[in-house]
């Protein structure tokens, strides 16, 4: 951690993910969202906390060559959006050759750290 403060909801999620207890917020129609949220982002309806699926699937990915300064020493890295049940996460894909990442790849979510600053973040690993 390079920050001297926590972001409630986000850091709580990372703590839970590291402990194998990740969760998301489910709306009345079964759609899912990431915390922190008080209500459904499009309808204002109430949300309920549900356990996050262990099994994710890469929906899309890119290999980033030109990063922000916060990830200067991380680049190049593969960034992906993956589907976990009704909710999606954005994270770096680790523990795999970048050339082997493809849409549809099965992954799990984990907590990793950036090379540049040690900041915690969501990472995906092949399942």
């Amino acid at each position: 951690m390079t920050r001297e403060y926590r972001d409630a909801g986000y850091d709580d999620f990372l703590d839970a993910l590291a402990a194998g207890e990740a969760y998301y917020l489910e709306g009345p129609d079964g759609d899912g969202f990431l915390p922190p949220r008080e209500v459904h982002p499009r309808t204002g309806e109430e949300l309920a906390e549900r356990p996050l699926s262990d099994a994710g699937e890469v929906l899309t990915y890119t290999r980033v060559e030109v990063p922000t300064p916060q990830l200067a020493d991380d680049a190049p890295y593969v960034l992906a959006v993956a589907q976990f049940g009704p909710v999606r996460l954005t994270g770096q894909v680790h523990s795999v050759d970048p050339d082997d990442v493809e849409v549809g790849m099965r992954v799990t979510a984990d907590v990793g750290e950036t090379v540049t600053s040690g900041e915690r973040m969501v990472v995906f690993r092949p399942r």
Binding site: Y61, T62, V64, E65, T68, V81, T90, Q92
Partner: protein
């Protein structure tokens, strides 16, 4: 009633002005717009000014008053921030002020200073338009975000880097004669395909440049234009705005832009037209594939079918629907807070027959143009319909 008239427009050349502050750039664009409108400075009743990264790039917030001062206008002034859609949203605020009867003369516009930053710092500043925790922490950049949408589109519908290259080639070709454009230089498909990778599948020519610049327009009520005998044949007949979840991951679709669809639906309804009535468009091509998303979101093409539009010549200057005759963000440049009102400036000139590329557009009454300005990964979208009414 035809809607607010675009009485005057102004725009600095887009490109590198690294020693000029945003206020300095806006002063130039605003003076040109006010002079073009033929109104007195004192006639301006409200100012709406778009800027995205003033705090980051030049340590400057609270730019509403600064913009009014720079313009020489002593009137209420507010900065509008909606990332790259900031000045499109500022134009829309001006339209609503005139439509509601709150004001008869409004100065709208925007400015951005970017090239004083390093590429890495500009990348960081632009990334602030994404979700700071869920997206930016693991490494989202703006080229990266649009690359994610592009890869999802390719997986769902197909498409190639060569298709994207044709969009860059088209927009560079349109900018060759435009003295306000950052890149007055033609490229070919091979140039685009052989350029260094920024983030797969995007090479350098898939990305709009880092730019400085400003743009402005004077909007007046129809009654004011008539009473003061202003030469203002272009009216804004429709205005719409759409909002989506900020984070790409939270969207219903990774390949369709709901905010654009909503903004377009509202603008079309107000103008009493549909997408097939549009003769010419300036759309938000911050990346080549962004033009594809725009053309589909605006209803010009069905989902999954606009990827070959440039390659097939349908959106080139001599095509059925010329898109980005100014050069677009890709070649004209993209000083982000100035882009939305620059689209208004360029399209107004195109429709009035006084743009270098006006030959591709009829200036006869009834000709319809459209602007589409997007913020972030299209979490914000603003659409305006402009018509030649006199």
């Amino acid at each position: 009633m035809t809607g607010p008239r675009v009485a005057g427009v102004g725009m600095t050349p887009f490109g590198k002005h690294e020693s000029r502050t945003a206020r300095d750039l806006f002063a130039a664009a605003a003076q040109e717009a006010i002079a073009d409108a033929g109104v007195e400075h004192a006639a301006v009743e409200e100012v709406r000014f778009g800027n995205f990264m003033g705090e980051f790039a030049e340590g400057q917030g609270h730019m509403g008053p600064l913009a009014a001062e720079a313009a020489g206008v002593h009137a209420p002034s507010t900065r509008i921030e909606s990332a790259c859609a900031s000045s499109g949203a500022a134009v829309r605020q001006g339209v609503m002020l005139v439509q509601s009867g709150q004001a008869d003369v409004v100065l709208v516009g925007g400015a951005e200073r970017m090239t004083n930053l390093s590429t890495a710092d500009a990348t960081e500043a632009l990334a602030a338009a994404a979700d700071a925790v869920w997206e930016v922490r693991p490494g989202m950049t703006f080229p990266g975000a649009y690359a994610l949408m592009t890869q999802a589109y390719f997986a769902q519908y197909g498409g190639t880097s060569e298709d994207l290259a044709h969009i860059a080639v088209k927009n560079h070709a349109n900018a060759v004669e435009n003295d306000l454009a950052q890149f007055q230089r033609a490229i070919d498909v091979e140039d685009a395909l052989e350029a260094p990778t920024v983030c797969s599948p995007f090479g350098l020519y898939d990305c709009s440049p880092i730019s400085d610049g400003a743009s402005a327009a004077v909007l007046v009520s129809e009654e004011y234009a008539a009473e003061h005998d202003l030469d203002a044949p272009v009216a804004i007949t429709g205005s719409g705005q759409g909002t989506d979840s900020l984070a790409l991951q939270a969207r219903v679709s990774l390949t369709q832009t709901t905010a654009t669809e909503r903004a377009a639906a509202a603008a079309y309804e107000e103008a009493g037209i549909g997408p097939r009535d549009v003769d010419v468009a300036e759309v938000h091509d911050c990346f080549t594939h962004a033009e594809v998303l725009a053309l589909e979101g605006l209803g010009f093409y069905d989902p999954g079918t606009a990827i070959e539009a440039a390659r097939e010549g349908e959106t080139t200057a001599d095509g059925d629907l010329p898109v980005n005759l100014s050069g677009g963000l890709k070649a004209k440049g993209h000083p982000v807070g100035a882009t939305g009102s620059a689209q208004i400036s360029e399209l107004t000139k195109l429709l009035e027959g006084r743009h270098v590329n006006s030959d591709a557009v009829s200036d006869s009454p009834g000709t319809v143009g459209l602007t589409h300005n997007a913020g972030g990964t299209v979490a914000s979208a603003v659409v305006h319909v402009l018509e030649v009414v006199a």
